[in-house]
Symmetry: C2
Subunit: 216 residues, 2 copies
């Protein structure tokens, strides 16, 4: 299908919803569902029917009226229109517990997001092999990033080292950062940072728990 | 300070920003900053000055005009007004790589979010001790959740087991769920779910990378 969104301005919130749709559709595919109509799909995604129809309209005429969407084709259409259905080569910096867990996270690989290089500044970790990858010193990052066509950097350092890790990655030419460290980082305008921030989720749960159930 | 937000309706987006402010303020405190004025604070948080002043106004008159905010007091004021500055006892279900990494995540404990019980349905894991906690069978969950005053459930199972894990936690009386599994889960209206969804972040990075740098 020729329809691509490459030159379209898609709002962040839409991308977030598209990622949710993919997740729900993948669950459905795993459960053997072949066709789904927009109402139960919307319900499973936690949005209303008109929202999902509007979002999916980006991809042209997709559903069959009175029948619904073909689950597998819709996954392919969304990932292809977003141009994310290819291999993404990633570097990870900070080979602690979380870094090791992500290295072993099958969901990444299944979606084409491959961690191919890992870095740490701890001399005791450098040279160690973790899930088949050798831990490299950050000073070798520019050469390794170029050699391995790396486009995305994952930061899993302690918070106080997150900024330095980001600087290493940016100096090596990486402009897309996924930050798991509990710290905000400063980047120039052409660099994208996404924060995986466990705490805003926990604070949100805690705050609502207090409101509805009182303090314990 | 008596000011509490318990009965105030705070929008989700505000809670998310407050979590960011806490994170930035903690970074500043770690770096030895005692006082910060609203403009550099706003900049570090990625919001504009009027937004941060508006958000912080929830907590009464805080900053000193021409001087700024005391970093430590402001952290205390926000967490106390949100009523999150106490111990939160959590259960984790799914003791795989990610679950083990979270168990060892010092940031949780530092903020009072303590994982005190862990569960798995794999008979080979039950009885194993991980970071000082024994892995329990899910059938013992109702008793252990009650005994341990658990309020938040963390799901780190594979995606196809996330719904079953959520059902176990809800049957044990837990109404706040933090889901790390790459799957949407169905819950009744009184249950809160927060999704830590790595993929919407990765898709967002990938999509922007394509737009600005072209496909490789």
């Amino acid at each position: 299908m020729e329809n691509t969104l490459k030159n379209t301005r898609i709002p962040r919130a839409t991308i977030r919803r598209l990622a949710t749709y993919i997740q729900v559709l993948e669950n459905l595919a795993r459960d053997g569902t072949e066709i789904i109509s927009s109402t139960p799909l919307a319900e499973a995604c936690g949005v209303n029917g008109s929202q999902i129809r509007k979002d999916l309209a980006y991809f042209g005429e997709f559903g069959i009226r009175g029948v619904g969407y073909n689950v597998t084709s819709l996954i392919a259409a969304i990932t292809s229109a977003l141009d994310v259905n290819r291999e993404w080569r990633m570097a990870l910096i900070g080979v602690g517990n979380l870094g090791k867990a992500l290295l072993n996270h099958a969901d990444f690989r299944e979606r084409g997001f491959n961690i191919v290089c890992i870095f740490d500044c701890d001399p005791f970790k450098i040279g160690e092999v973790v899930h088949g990858l050798e831990v490299h010193c950050t000073k070798d990052m520019p050469a390794l990033v170029a050699e391995n066509n790396i486009e995305i950097g994952i930061i899993t350092t302690p918070p106080e080292r997150a900024q330095r890790a980001a600087t290493h990655l940016m100096n090596a030419g990486i402009t897309s950062l996924l930050n798991f460290a509990s710290a905000r980082i400063k980047v120039p305008e052409h660099v994208n940072v996404e924060y995986v921030d466990f705490f805003h989720h926990l604070y949100s749960l805690a705050f609502n728990q207090n409101r509805f159930y009182g303090k314990s």
